[in-house]
């Protein structure tokens, strides 16, 4: 079975500016694939290239094994959900959904049936005769989805479709999108700068920065085993430390920290004995305690930030290293320690990882 989309050595230049540097990636059939990165990283450019809205400077684009590099957008069985929906304002909801089917010259009876089916799916059957401006943002969003899915595209592209919705609706739509993708079996390529969205919905995520793909992996792998400092920093919250490598053993680096602390970090080749290396630790892997614990390190609490479900502690180790710890508020929100108090920090085994810069 060929890949749903193969992007092979794609380069995109705008004059002297290179938006994409030799990007290569494969998107599997029936996958919920996310392009994640800050604005200007090239994710939207890549999406527009797959849709056919932008031509490429060099490279090849394949859809289920067929080269589509030279095809215009109307000849690619790929549909797009636009960031601001881009519904046709002069057409009704039903006409919007039928647009692609009409262009594909589907028989009228089939179009009627398919439109009814799609409106049923998005629970807007009663709004078939309305114009887009008579709908709420969330409803317009669903019409845009129905319009793009009606022609049964082989791949659905979604360009930050949730960014214009408010928080509650955005969270509800995440679930809906994921369910929809599983029901339809269509390959989804989702563009976002919101890492929470990416982690919640994706089968795999490609993290992009400055026109390059930094890492492609499942959400858990991206979160727990970021390949580069950029990925570790962009996804979630992280402590970064510089340590000196004292030795390597079975994919573990033995590191020394200022103040004489030793830390064993997971290593995938970033560490060189005798040199310094970046370490990262997720704050939730560090816990603070008011009584001595096994492998606890003495520290002083500097700042406390209450977050509702958790409390963040900025702590200072004896020796000056500052670390952030996040402790879930399982029982109540009372802090374990208050600012200025001494206590103990426990670092979970395997919490630290070395990073490529």
């Amino acid at each position: 079975m060929p890949q749903a989309v193969e992007i092979i050595d794609v380069v995109k230049k705008y004059g002297s500016f290179t938006a994409l540097h030799n990007v290569s990636l494969d998107i599997r059939p029936n996958e919920f694939f996310t392009l994640l990165g800050p604005s200007g990283c090239g994710k939207t450019t890549l999406l527009r290239i797959i849709a056919g809205f932008e031509d490429i400077t060099a490279g090849t684009l394949k859809l289920f094994g067929t080269d589509i590099t030279a095809l215009p957008p109307d000849r690619r069985p790929i549909n797009t959900v636009f960031q601001h929906y881009s519904l046709f304002p002069h057409m009704t909801v039903a006409e919007n959904v039928a647009f692609g089917l009409r262009r594909l010259k589907m028989p009228a009876a089939d179009i009627t049936r398919r439109v009814a089916e799609m409106l049923e799916m998005i629970k807007l059957s009663s709004h078939a005769g309305r114009r887009p401006h008579q709908l709420s943002g969330g409803q317009q969003q669903r019409v845009a989805l129905a319009r793009a899915l009606a022609p049964r595209p082989k791949v659905l592209l979604l360009d930050e479709p949730l960014s214009a919705l408010d928080l509650k609706l955005r969270q509800a739509m995440r679930m809906e999108l994921k369910t929809l993708q599983q029901q339809t079996g269509v390959t989804f390529i989702f563009v976002t700068h919101d890492q929470e969205e990416a982690l919640a919905m994706s089968d795999r995520i490609a993290v992009m920065s400055e026109g390059r793909v930094q890492q492609i992996d499942a959400p858990q792998v991206i979160y727990e085993h970021p390949a580069t400092r950029f990925v570790a920093d962009f996804i979630g919250d992280a402590n970064f430390l510089t340590a000196s490598v004292e030795g390597l053993e079975d994919g573990r680096a033995h590191c020394g920290l200022p103040g004489g602390y030793r830390l064993i970090a997971r290593d995938a080749g970033a560490a060189r004995p005798g040199q310094s290396v970046s370490l990262f630790l997720r704050p939730e892997k560090l816990s603070v305690h008011d009584t001595p614990v096994e492998e606890g390190i003495g520290m002083t609490v500097r700042t406390i930030v209450y977050q509702g479900d958790a409390t963040d502690y900025l702590v200072e180790l004896d020796g000056g290293v500052m670390l952030r710890s996040r402790c879930e508020n399982r029982i109540n929100g009372d802090p374990i320690l208050t600012a200025g108090e001494r206590g103990f920090l426990r670092i979970a085994p395997d919490a630290a990882k070395t990073l490529l810069d």
Binding site: F53, P72, D74, R75, T80, S86, P151
Partner: protein
């Protein structure tokens, strides 16, 4: 110490000056309209309401021919200018960028700033040099040239406000470039096109200088006819024709304005 900010409307005499200003602008028009309904020939003494002069011009076959000529010229010139302006606006905003696109945008507008008498003389010289003699056709050709920028402005403004991704959505949903133009771009552009056409229409109907230069004997438009009548002295018929022209102009411009505002 808070200093009271002074608004221009607080200045002494502001109200009076404003009234004076509007009187200055509109008094001639008001007089023209009022005396078009005067019962006698007098242009200064009001002697009662009457539609005599309107009845008179309605019965005048020469005026009717001039009005028909004006309409023919205006409609033909508007139709051609609007098509050209729409194509130009699409090329400028949606076409592939080409060398000198900005300059071209400026060149489309130049008829608005070139002194009309210069355009008129230049057109006359060109037409006589090539021996063009198409009757009303001469006037239509000359009018198309200066109608284009008037039609172009509202069309381009509308196109600038239109979200290009709506057209991309059509392309994405299997519409060819031509189908996209027909089913999405043009319907969304329609208010701008109609507004541009109405502006071109009114500009053509009103035109005097260029028309006078290029009009051949017999090809008399309404403004030329009014000018001809004036040479025989002021008459209430002129007031009546002018009032009708004024009414048409105001009506068309209002319509154009309403269409431009519509989203």
């Amino acid at each position: 110490m808070a200093r009271k900010t002074r608004k221009i409307t607080d200045l002494p005499g502001f109200r009076g000056f404003t009234w004076l200003f509007f009187a200055y602008l509109y008094a001639p028009l008001v007089l023209l309209v009022v005396f078009s309904f005067n019962a006698t020939r007098s242009g200064t003494v009001w002697s009662g309401f009457s539609l005599t002069w309107y009845a008179k011009i309605a019965a005048d076959s020469q005026i009717q021919r001039a009005a028909l000529n004006s309409l023919t010229v205006a409609i033909c010139a508007t139709a051609i200018a609007t098509v050209v302006a729409t194509a130009a606006a699409l090329a400028m905003k949606r076409g592939v960028p080409f060398f000198g696109r900005k300059v071209t945008g400026g060149l489309i507008m130049t008829p608005l700033v070139v002194p009309e008498i210069v355009t008129a003389v230049a057109t006359l010289l060109l037409f006589s040099a090539i021996g063009l003699s198409l009757g009303l056709g001469n006037i239509i050709l000359a009018h198309v040239a200066f109608c284009i920028p008037f039609a172009y402005l509202p069309i381009r403004a509308r196109l600038e406000r239109m979200d290009e991704s709506i057209e991309l959505a059509a392309r994405d949903l299997y519409a060819t470039p031509w189908q996209t133009l027909r089913t999405v771009t043009l319907p969304l552009l329609a208010p701008g096109i109609v507004s541009g056409a109405l502006l071109a229409l009114i500009t053509s109907i009103d035109d005097f200088i260029i028309t006078m230069m290029v009009a051949e004997p017999g090809a008399t438009t309404l403004p030329l006819y009014i000018y001809g009548m004036l040479r025989l002295g002021v008459s209430p018929e002129i007031n009546a024709i002018s009032t009708i022209l004024l009414g048409v102009s105001v009506g068309v411009v209002t319509l154009s304005h309403l269409l431009t505002r519509r989203r």
